[in-house]
Amino acid sequence: MNIALILIALTTIAALGIGIVARSNQTMSLEQWTVGGRKFGVALVFLLMAGEIYTTFTFLGASGYAYGLGAPAYYILAYGTLAYVLSYFILPIIWTYARRHGLVSQPDFFARKYDSPALGILVALVGVVALVPYLVLQLTGLGVIVQVASFGGVSKTVAVITGAVVVALYVMVSGVRGSAWTAIVKDVAIIIVAVFLGLYLPVHYSGGMGQMFAAVDHAKPGFLAFPAHGQSVTWFVSTVLLTACGFFMWPHSFGASYTAKNAAVFRKNAIVLPLYQLVLLFIFFVGFTAMLVVPGLKGAATNMALLKITVAAFPPWFVGVVGATGVLTALVPGSLIMMSAATLFARNVVAAFSPGMSEDDTVKLARLLVPVIAIIGAYFTISGNDTIVALLLMGYSFVTQFFPALICSLAPRNPATKEGAFAGIAVGVATVVYFTLTKQTLAKLLPALPGAWKDLNIGIVALGLNVIVLVAVSALTARSRALAGRAAE
């Protein structure tokens, strides 16, 4: 075992320790385990939500995307900012409603708002499916870190299984409180590491930021603007819209909003969190510098860009520090994702079908499901070979399908019916599944489309169909209900 791996292992053990300490003195009711008893103030909610921002996706995914594709990576900087703008208006309403009705999860919200248990079950199932690629990307990150930090000594399979076991253990001992406290350590670490690497590497290798970008522009002309096809400007706009609308549709982010002490938390966060996004800028600097220094990584291997340049530039102990930070960025979100998936399935699917189930049994079942989800995640991680960003975008295509039904439900008089909401989500999700499984693209399916439209993100296309179906079915069901009402009179 080298010094890098030892540091990474020690960090993991420390994180587990924090989880256990955070848990002590807390009885673990479902509300405690998942929403921390709704007692978190600005700082902790900020961190739980930032826990969503700074994941392996940012650390390894964003740098790898900048390394592999260039300008299209900028979308990552844009969408979070716009999501916070939306959050200012949406989250306080969701929070108030959730508090009044004692809701614990996202499907609760839909089931209650639309007075439809079936809609709750659909939302839970889609949520669990969307969380799988999100978990896979965290495990992919863990795998990459251990592989690179062991200088190839540990295989991907062993690395991923170890990672999955650690994340599962972490969830089982700690719950949401542990995640929040570890999130503090994680965020301090990632900011220091990202800013340091982002400032040091361009200066060290190119003599400065401007020189580094000039060198990138020279080495790959066009790399710093959007390409004419594929990840074009159309792709950028549609992807940013999709992901900005989907940002808080993730079951765990939606759930994290319940942890707030009051609604003002969200309004303040909407001012500060866009600035927090700027840390990504430094991650991009690392990715672009890596393109010059350690070229040649292709496809899923671009996930390694940040770590490869770290290995090239620094002694092993520092690789350990960066690796340990990476482990935290996977562990905290990974645990939230696993916990959300387990709770969703136990509470909003299984318990929804068996009304007699007690809350204790639900918590027990959720805990039993954690290792099952870990195994599923590990399986797809080992068998899959995607870039981290592609995995997240797949998940986004799913969760954003909740957005139209959510927005309608926030209106004083909901224009959508439960049938409309259900059909819209179902059609949107089916569209995403079709495009994902058949690897179909819009350009192949509809060659007659004008050039720019072919690059639309598939998730946005699905969202469009979702809205059309929602409107049509709502109109039909509202009318037939009105007719039935009149006939009854």
């Binding site: 300008a71 900087l77 703008v85 200012y88 401007g210 710093l224 603007a225 600035l275």
Partner: protein, 67 residues
């Protein structure tokens, strides 16, 4: 939502306008390629816009939040 809430549309328009109108790496601004500098600029503007919206939000004044 107050009328000031409509200001929230600005970041959406701003963020997209740069890449749509000028999809070029040049001119470099403070060492950053144009697209990247544009997006960073709009992040700063967004934060300022949200501060203005928050400052004048009647909800904040009713519930007595302090900024």
């Amino acid at each position: 939502m107050s009328k000031l809430g409509l200001l929230a549309i600005l970041p959406f328009i701003g963020m997209f306008l740069g890449p749509i109108l000028h999809n070029e790496p040049t001119p470099f601004i403070l060492g950053l390629p144009f697209e990247l500098a544009w997006i960073v600029g709009w992040i700063l503007i967004t934060s300022a816009v949200m501060l203005v919206i928050y400052w004048f939000d009647p909800v904040r004044n009713e519930t007595g939040d302090t900024p």
